[in-house]
C-alpha cells in the first residue's frame, strides 16, 4: 500500500506535469503546488448550523485539460450585439467584446490566457486580495486544481452600458470536477454589470467549485448577477466575494436553483469609506436536496452601508439554511447594516432555517434584522383555489408573491425575467402531488 505522503508527492508531480503541458507560467504552477502543500493542513470552512462535511466536493485531485464539444453550448439565447463570454467545460467557445471597449483597455478573456498575457494583473489579484488561497481547504483546492474561468478587467473611468454576459457550462458528459474562477477587476470610477449563468450538460457525478472574486475600485459601480442552474449530479461550492474601496457601490443579485446540494458563501467586504453593497438572494430547493447559504457583509470602513435580503422556497423533502451574517468591525462608525432572511416551506417534510447572525463591534451604527421560517399560508392557497385555480398554479402564485420583494428590486429586467423563469421551471419539477 502507498503511504499518504507518497500519494501527495505523486499528486504534486502530476499537477506540475499537467500544468506545464497546459503551458501555464511558472508563477502559477508554483502557486498550485503551494496550494497542494497548504491543503494538507487546512480544514474545511465552518458554516454555522449547517453540515456539509460528507459531501463529495474534493474527490477529484487530478488536473487534466480537454476540449469539450462546442455544441453543448447550443440553445443559448441569441446574442444580439451583446458582450458575452461562453465557456463549455474548459473550452472557451465565444468571446464577444466590442472593439471600442477593447480600445479603451477592457479585457475579457479566459483565465489562463490572462495568466499568460496579463500576468502583472493576474499575479496581483488572483486569490491574493479578495480571497486568500490558504483560508481553508476549499480555497486551497480552488488554486491547486483550477481548470476553467474568466478574467475581466475594466479600466479607470470606463462605463459599459450593456451587461456583460457569461455562460459557464459545466461539461458533465465526462468525469471531471469543474473548478472555475471569475476574476473581475473594476478600476476607479468604472461602471458595468455582469451576468453569469451556470448550467450543467451531461449526467456524470461531478463537483463544481465556482469562485468569484471582485475588486471594486474607488467609486466604481458594479452589479453582479448570477443565475445558478447546476445539474442533479453536481455538488457545488459557490464562493463569491467582493472587496469594496472608498465610495464603491457593488451589488449581488443571485438566484440559486441548482438541482443538487449547494454550499454558498457570498461576502461583501466594505473596506473603503462610504462604500455600499446590496446583497440579494433567492433560492429554491426541491426533492431531497440541501442548500446551505451564507450571506455575509462586513462593514469595515466608516459610513458604509450593507444590506442583505434573501428569500428561499422549499418543496418536498428539501432543506435550506440561510445565514445572514452582519459583521461591523470596530471603527466603522456610521455604518448601516440591515438584513432580512425569509424561508417559506411548501411541504411539511421540508426543513428551512433563517438565521440572522449579528457581530457588532462598534457603537455608532444602525443595524437591524428580520427573519422568518414558516409554512405556506393555507388560507392564501384556499382563497386562490376557491376561484378555480388549481393547486400547482396557486402555489406558484403564492411563491411568486413571496419572492417578489427581492425579485422586484433587481434592476436588470432581463435578469429578473430569467430568474422568474428558472424558479417556475424548478417549481414545476418539484410539485409532486399525492
Amino acid at each position: 500500500m502507498k503511504s499518504a505522503v507518497q500519494d501527495y508527492e505523486a499528486i504534486k508531480t502530476a499537477v506540475r506535469t499537467a500544468a506545464n503541458a497546459h503551458g501555464e507560467p511558472q508563477w502559477f504552477v508554483d502557486r498550485r503546488l503551494a496550494a497542494i502543500d497548504a491543503m494538507q493542513e487546512l480544514a474545511l470552512p465552518e458554516m454555522q448550523r449547517y453540515d456539509f462535511h460528507r459531501w463529495p466536493l474534493m474527490g477529484n485531485v487530478e488536473l487534466s485539460f480537454r476540449d469539450s464539444d462546442k455544441h453543448l453550448a447550443d440553445g443559448l439565447p441569441k446574442a444580439t450585439n451583446q458582450i458575452r463570454f461562453v465557456q463549455v467545460g474548459q473550452t472557451t467557445v465565444a468571446v464577444n467584446l466590442p472593439a471600442d471597449l477593447a480600445d479603451q483597455g477592457v479585457i475579457l478573456t479566459d483565465i489562463f490566457s490572462a495568466f499568460r498575457n496579463h500576468a502583472d494583473l493576474a499575479k496581483k489579484y488572483f486569490m491574493t486580495q479578495v480571497t486568500q488561497y490558504n483560508e481553508n481547504k476549499l480555497t486551497a483546492y480552488q488554486q491547486a486544481f483550477l481548470n476553467a474561468g474568466i478574467f475581466l478587467y475594466v479600466p479607470k473611468g470606463v462605463e459599459i452600458k450593456q451587461p456583460i454576459e457569461a455562460y459557464l457550462i459545466q461539461d458533465s458528459t465526462v468525469k471531471q470536477a469543474m473548478v472555475s474562477h471569475v476574476l473581475i477587476i473594476a478600476e476607479e470610477n468604472s461602471q458595468f454589470s455582469f451576468i453569469q449563468h451556470l448550467t450543467t450538460r451531461g449526467d456524470e457525478a461531478n463537483a463544481a467549485h465556482c469562485m468569484v472574486e471582485v475588486v471594486s475600485g474607488t467609486n466604481s459601480h458594479v452589479h453582479f448577477s448570477s443565475v445558478d442552474e447546476l445539474g442533479a449530479n453536481t455538488y457545488s461550492f459557490l464562493h463569491r466575494r467582493a472587496n469594496l474601496a472608498n465610495d464603491a457601490r457593488f451589488d449581488w443579485a443571485i438566484g440559486i436553483a441548482n438541482d443538487q446540494n449547494t454550499l454558498g458563501d457570498i461576502t461583501s467586504e466594505l473596506i473603503g469609506e462610504g462604500s455600499h453593497s446590496e446583497s440579494k438572494v433567492v433560492a429554491i430547493t426541491t426533492g431531497k436536496q440541501s442548500n446551505g447559504l451564507n450571506n455575509r457583509v462586513v462593514n469595515r470602513g466608516k459610513h458604509t452601508t450593507a444590506n442583505i435580503s434573501q428569500r428561499g422556497v422549499l418543496l418536498e423533502k428539501s432543506e435550506l439554511v440561510f445565514n445572514g451574517i452582519g459583521n461591523i468591525i470596530h471603527g466603522a462608525s456610521g455604518a448601516n447594516a440591515e438584513q432580512e432572511n425569509r424561508v417559506l416551506m411548501m411541504s411539511h417534510e421540508a426543513h428551512g432555517d433563517a438565521n440572522p447572525i449579528l457581530l457588532i463591534d462598534e457603537d455608532d451604527v444602525i443595524a437591524g434584522h428580520a427573519a422568518s421560517a414558516g409554512q405556506v399560508d393555507q388560507n392564501q392557497l384556499y382563497y386562490l383555489m376557491s376561484r378555480g385555480i388549481d393547486k400547482e398554479l396557486a402555489q406558484r402564485l403564492v411563491i411568486r408573491g413571496f419572492l417578489g420583494p427581492v425579485l422586484e428590486e433587481i434592476p436588470l429586467k432581463e435578469v429578473r425575467r430569467e430568474m422568474i423563469g428558472v424558479i417556475e421551471r424548478k417549481l414545476k419539477d418539484g410539485q409532486h402531488f399525492e
Binding site: 384556499y382 383555489m385 378555480g388 385555480i389 402564485l397 411568486r400
Partner: protein, 264 residues
C-alpha cells in the same frame, strides 16, 4: 337550470387539544339557479361554516349528510374543482396575496375554467374588466394592485363582487358581503349582484342586516340557529326578524338556544 342541495349536513371542526365540536347539526337546503336565498341568524350559529363547507374548506369535516351540485356529490371534490363546476364563495375575510396583481389573478381564475386551447384573449378580458369596474364604480388602479393587499374592508368586499362578475359562477355564496360597507358601497355591491340575476345564476346571501335585502330582494329567507335552519319564509321573514329579534323567534319555536344577548 342548475341545482344545489344540502342534505342533513353535519359538520365538525377540530379544536385545540384534538377535540372535535359539531357545528352544523343537520342542515337541509335546496336551491335552483334563478333564485336568491338569504340566511340570517345570530353570531356563531354556523352560517360561515355552511358556506365554507359547501365550498370545500378542509377545516370543516362533514360527518353526515351530503352536498349535491346538479345531483353530483361534492364531498370528495377539492375546492378548485368545485369552483370550476360553478361554485363561488364571497368570503367574510378574503386573503391578501402579495406579488400577484388583481388583474393577473382574475385572468388566471377565468382561464382556469376554460380549456387550454381556448384561453381568454387580452382584449376580451380587458373589455369585460372595464365593464365590470364601471358597474362597481371601481378604479382601474385597483386591478393593478396586489390581490387584496392593503385594501380597506370595503374595498375587499367590492373586489369579491368584481370577481363574482368576472367569473360568472352558477351559484354564489356571499358571506357578509355587506358588513363594513357604507351606504353607497352597499348599493354598488347590490347593483353588482343584481346584475347577475337571471336564469343561470343563484345566490345564497348570508347577512345580519335586513337593509341589504331591501336592495337584493330574496326569494327565500332562512333563519339559522345553533347549527340548523329553524325557519324559512319569504322576504317578509327578514323584516319580521329585524323588528322582533332572534329571541322572539326562538321562543315562538320553543328552542333552547343561548343567544349572545341573553348574557348581557
Amino acid at each position: 337550470m342548475a341545482t344545489l342541495e344540502v342534505k342533513d349536513l353535519h359538520v365538525s371542526v377540530k379544536e385545540e387539544k384534538s377535540q372535535t365540536r359539531e357545528i352544523l347539526k343537520g342542515v337541509n337546503l335546496s336551491m335552483k339557479t334563478g333564485e336568491i336565498h338569504a340566511i340570517m341568524g345570530p353570531n356563531g350559529t354556523g352560517k360561515s361554516t355552511l358556506a365554507q363547507t359547501i365550498m370545500g374548506n378542509s377545516a370543516y369535516h362533514v360527518t353526515q349528510g351530503d352536498i349535491l351540485l346538479n345531483g353530483e356529490s361534492l364531498l370528495e371534490m377539492p375546492v378548485d374543482e368545485r369552483a370550476r363546476k360553478g361554485l363561488f364563495l364571497g368570503m367574510q375575510y378574503p386573503a391578501e396575496i402579495k406579488g400577484v396583481t388583481n388583474a393577473e389573478f382574475l385572468r388566471a381564475a377565468i382561464n382556469a375554467r376554460r380549456p387550454e386551447d381556448d384561453q381568454i384573449s387580452v382584449m376580451a378580458f380587458l373589455k369585460e374588466l372595464d365593464k365590470n369596474l364601471d358597474l362597481l364604480d371601481m378604479s382601474k388602479e385597483m386591478t393593478e394592485r396586489y390581490l387584496n393587499e392593503d385594501f380597506s374592508g370595503g374595498e375587499k368586499k367590492r373586489n369579491e363582487i368584481l370577481q363574482l362578475l368576472m367569473i360568472k359562477p352558477s351559484f354564489a355564496l356571499l358571506d357578509e358581503i355587506d358588513s363594513g360597507l357604507d351606504i353607497d358601497a352597499l348599493q354598488v355591491v347590490a347593483k353588482g349582484v343584481n346584475s347577475m340575476r337571471g336564469d343561470d345564476f343563484g345566490s345564497l346571501i348570508i347577512t345580519h342586516y335586513q337593509r341589504l335585502l331591501n336592495y337584493i330582494v330574496p326569494d327565500v329567507v332562512h333563519v339559522m340557529m345553533d347549527g340548523r335552519i329553524v325557519k324559512s319564509g319569504d322576504a317578509e321573514l327578514a323584516k319580521k326578524l329585524e323588528n322582533e329579534g332572534y329571541a322572539g323567534l326562538r321562543d315562538e319555536l320553543g328552542l333552547k338556544v343561548n343567544l349572545v344577548d341573553d348574557n348581557r
